[in-house]
């Protein structure tokens, strides 16, 4: 099955989103080869440049509202547990407008893969400050410089209960492919925060190239070590920026537990069962 659609791509040339698109397509093709039909994949997106992914991949998709990618993803997973649900969201989408859903999806450890296109700017609305923009960031809504400190989304989802936490970089496609596949195969809530360069509103290529390194000799099962590594860079000050999987553990996933608790319907038609229920109310 061809993964391309008829839609014309309208990201800027050089946009970091292309790397994510290519990684996802490559992984979907690979998974298909390994027996996961694209029929059993649903892509969910919020609103932002990131969500255009859905128009560009010929797979089932739910193009949701700004900030609201995770709730429908959870509904889909609970309705059809065999589905691989992959969510594309932005730093504004996931960490701003949709923060409560992020915290709760992580808390539930529902088996969903969340890929955040973290360009640290509101790209679609042409360049305002976001929850991961650094202090002092001059944007169209903070011409005098951002007064707030950014949040560290990895630390946040670790505290909330995510069981797979990684950071990628749009200029490292081989790693990104590996990360996307690993996250999709993980049973539980996984976040990949992708440092996705926005060439138009926040071009951080040089900055990232100077600071990124791949995690080595790091044990992702060690929560303390994970937290320490996650805190190495606070998305604000200059520091080494680790790429790779910080944390990974297997814990009961919400969807699996939910379905375990779900009973098959009692014998009899619904009208019959309703008559039975009504007997308790006389």
């Amino acid at each position: 099955m061809a993964l391309e659609t008829q839609a014309r791509n309208n990201w800027c040339p050089g946009c970091g989103n292309f790397a994510i698109l290519n990684a996802v397509k490559a992984v979907l093709a690979e998974l298909q080869g390994e027996g996961t039909s694209p029929d059993d994949v649903v892509l969910v997106g919020g609103i932002g440049q990131h969500a255009k992914m859905l128009d560009y991949v010929n797979v089932n998709s739910f193009y949701s509202l700004h900030g609201r990618a995770l709730p429908p993803a959870e509904g889909i997973k609970l309705a059809k547990p065999e589905t691989k649900v992959i969510v594309f969201s932005g730093d504004g989408d996931a960490y701003g407008e949709g923060m409560e859903h992020l915290v709760f999806a992580a808390k539930r450890n529902i088996d969903i893969t969340l890929i955040v296109h973290d360009n640290r700017v509101y790209a679609l609305t042409t360049g305002q400050v976001t929850p991961t923009s650094p202090q002092g960031f001059r944007s169209r809504s903070t011409p005098g410089g951002n007064l707030e400190k950014p949040i560290n989304p990895l630390e946040l989802v670790l505290a909330a209960g995510a069981t797979h936490i990684a950071r990628g970089y749009s200029a490292n496609l081989p790693l990104l492919k590996k990360q996307v596949k690993e996250a999709i195969l993980h049973k539980g809530f996984s976040l990949i925060d992708v440092l996705q360069v926005c060439v138009t509103f926040s071009n951080l290529y040089d900055h990232y190239n100077k600071h990124v390194y791949e995690l080595k000799d790091h044990d992702p099962a060690d929560r303390e070590a994970a937290l320490k590594k996650i805190r190495e860079w606070d998305y604000n000050l200059e520091a080494p920026i680790a790429l790779g999987t910080f944390y990974k553990t297997l814990e009961p996933a919400f969807d699996a537990e939910f379905l375990k608790a779900l009973k098959p319907a009692a014998a009899g038609s619904r009208p019959e069962l309703i008559k039975e229920v009504l007997k308790n109310y006389v």
Binding site: T5, R68, P72, L78, T83, L262, I274
Partner: protein, 530 residues
């Protein structure tokens, strides 16, 4: 006595609600039709709570403000309600804590002697009532056995002490009529949705709809329902729409405040053409308002909620049978037309207790899934989109497609209106030849129908509010010279809706203090406009 009322009151936490339900079930078993009005504050403990249980040989859906028995577990109940007691009525009370005229029993003392828990004072009180009302012990004993299986022995003991300590004042006779289940509007509505094949219920608690969530959670095992309580109402509606996209029939329930948060999801459902049932249980607003009291203030809010233009079904059932029937139909029609469908209730209906006659309801068969692809179908790519989109679900800003899609949505609205002609979307009661008619919606139906009988009026109740059932309304209003609109709001929202459709009400009778009309009060209001 073939039509009587009992008011039972005390502090929140005294088991007033339970005691009221037991009385209602007792009369039900004796062959009466019953109605329970529940009045309680937004508190767990403390504050004044009371129930009015009304029984009649005929079906009733409203309470009266004069009562035959006043049952008091504290002084406040007497002080607040003694003016409701009829001249020949009798107060029954715990003389250890209450000063009043009537039949006092040292209930506190009895409880101590029996080593019974505080909470069983209510059983002692209704035991005394049973004797005073001439109900024989076996009938009362059966009611306790049925309703208090947990602490049965001690409740029977305490109930018997109450019974023996009182004297017969009147004789409530048995009626030769089989009992019917007693349901709240919430319960009936839940069962209607289940009857039509509901598979998932998603909600965040909010009075007066919280009990639907509990009911569904309790019923989940029997009916294999997926019941979920997400992080808030935005999460609720968007999760439910995820279910819907995947082919799982879902409903959500809330009140006005929670519905405010859902509106972006409503518009999304309109654009993406995803079926969903949304229950809005109205309470006194604006804002947090009076959480446990009633109102009919969301008609225009729900009618207009969500940006953009898209068709919606909106129904307002007036009693539990209608809640069951229209709940089932709403789910079916949502799926048939791929639209959001709203069910408006209010606290009066949602939490009131009513007899429910399943046999009187036309059967609604579960609708088949529409002939469209769902994710997971072999070889199908199902793309839905909050942006305007082409037939394959891809985003578009093309002018011609935009216009086409808008017209497609309009067409669905027209088709829906046509489909609704098959159903009784406007109901008429009372004297069909009367030139004066009462216009009402939702829970006011019960009190209006009963009041109209006295005046020989006709009653017109639009059950469907969107799309407005123009033809059926025209037929109903024919020959009416004076139209009196009765509503629980301060602006006459239904009156405004009919005005938009070219009709006008001649008089408005409005009540907006959080309490529903009682029969005597409405009759008094109607008299003013004779």
């Amino acid at each position: 006595m073939d039509n009587f009322s009992i008011l039972i009151g005390g502090q929140a936490g005294y088991g007033i609600d339970k005691a009221g339900l037991i009385l209602a079930r007792l009369f039900n078993q004796l062959g009466y039709r019953v109605y329970i009005y529940r009045d309680y504050p937004s508190l767990i403990r403390g504050g004044h709570t009371f129930s009015i249980v009304r029984a009649s040989k005929e079906r009733i859906c409203a309470h009266r403000n004069k009562v035959d028995f006043l049952l008091a577990l504290n002084q406040e109940t007497i002080d607040l309600h003694k003016n409701k007691l009829k001249a020949k009525g009798i107060a029954i009370y715990d003389s250890d804590v209450v000063k009043a005229d009537g039949l006092g029993l040292p209930i506190g003392q009895i409880i101590k002697e029996e080593n019974a828990p505080e909470i069983s004072r209510n059983t002692c009180l209704i035991g005394a009532f049973a004797k005073a009302a001439g109900i024989d012990w076996p009938a009362f004993e059966a009611a306790i056995k049925q309703n208090m299986p947990k602490e049965l022995e001690i409740n029977l003991k305490v109930g018997k002490r109450g019974f023996d300590g009182a004297r017969e004042t009147v004789k409530i006779e048995k009626v030769n009529q089989p009992p019917l289940p007693i349901l709240t509007g919430n319960e009936a509505l839940s069962l209607g949705l289940i009857a039509a094949g509901l598979q998932a219920y998603v909600a965040y608690p909010m009075t007066p709809s919280s009990a639907i969530l509990s009911f569904m959670a309790e019923a989940a095992d029997k009916f294999s329902l997926k019941v979920l309580q997400p992080e808030g109402e935005i999460g609720v509606i968007m999760t439910a729409l995820g279910f819907s996209y995947a082919g799982t029939k879902a409903a959500v329930g809330t009140s006005g405040g929670g519905f405010c948060l859902m509106t972006e999801g409503v518009s999304f459902a309109g654009m993406a053409e995803l079926p969903i049932v949304i229950i809005v249980g109205q309470r006194t607003g604006p804002s947090t308002g009076l959480p446990t009291y009633t109102g009919q203030t969301e008609l225009h809010f729900v009618l207009n909620a969500g940006q953009g233009e898209f068709p919606r079904l909106m129904v307002a059932p007036g009693d539990p049978e209608e809640a069951y029937y229209w709940g089932a139909l709403a789910l079916n029609l949502a799926w048939q037309f791929q639209i959001p469908a709203f069910i408006l209730t209010d606290k009066t209906m949602a939490e009131g207790g009513f007899n429910f006659d399943l046999n009187s309801i036309k059967e609604v068969k579960e609708a088949a899934l529409p002939k469209r692809a769902f994710p997971g179908d072999k070889g199908a790519v199902v793309k839905i989109n909050s942006y305007e989109h082409d037939g394959s679900g891809l985003t578009t800003e093309d002018a011609a497609i935009t216009k086409q899609m808008a017209e497609k949505r309009l067409r669905k609205g027209n088709d829906l209106a046509e489909e609704l002609e098959k159903y009784e979307s406007v109901k008429v009661y009372g004297n069909n030849n009367a030139s004066t008619a009462i216009l009402c919606w939702g829970s006011n139906k019960g009190v209006c129908v009963e009041a109209a009988r006295k005046f020989g009026y006709k009653v017109i109740q639009p059950l469907v509010l969107s799309p407005f059932p123009v033809k059926q309304f025209e037929a109903a209003i024919k020959g009416v010279k004076k139209l009196i609109c009765v509503e629980n709001n301060s602006t006459g929202q239904l009156a405004q809706l009919i005005k938009l459709n070219g009709y006008s009400a001649d008089q408005l009778i409005l009540k907006y203090d959080g309490r529903p009309f009682d029969l005597d009060e409405l009759e008094g209001e109607l008299k003013k406009w004779l």
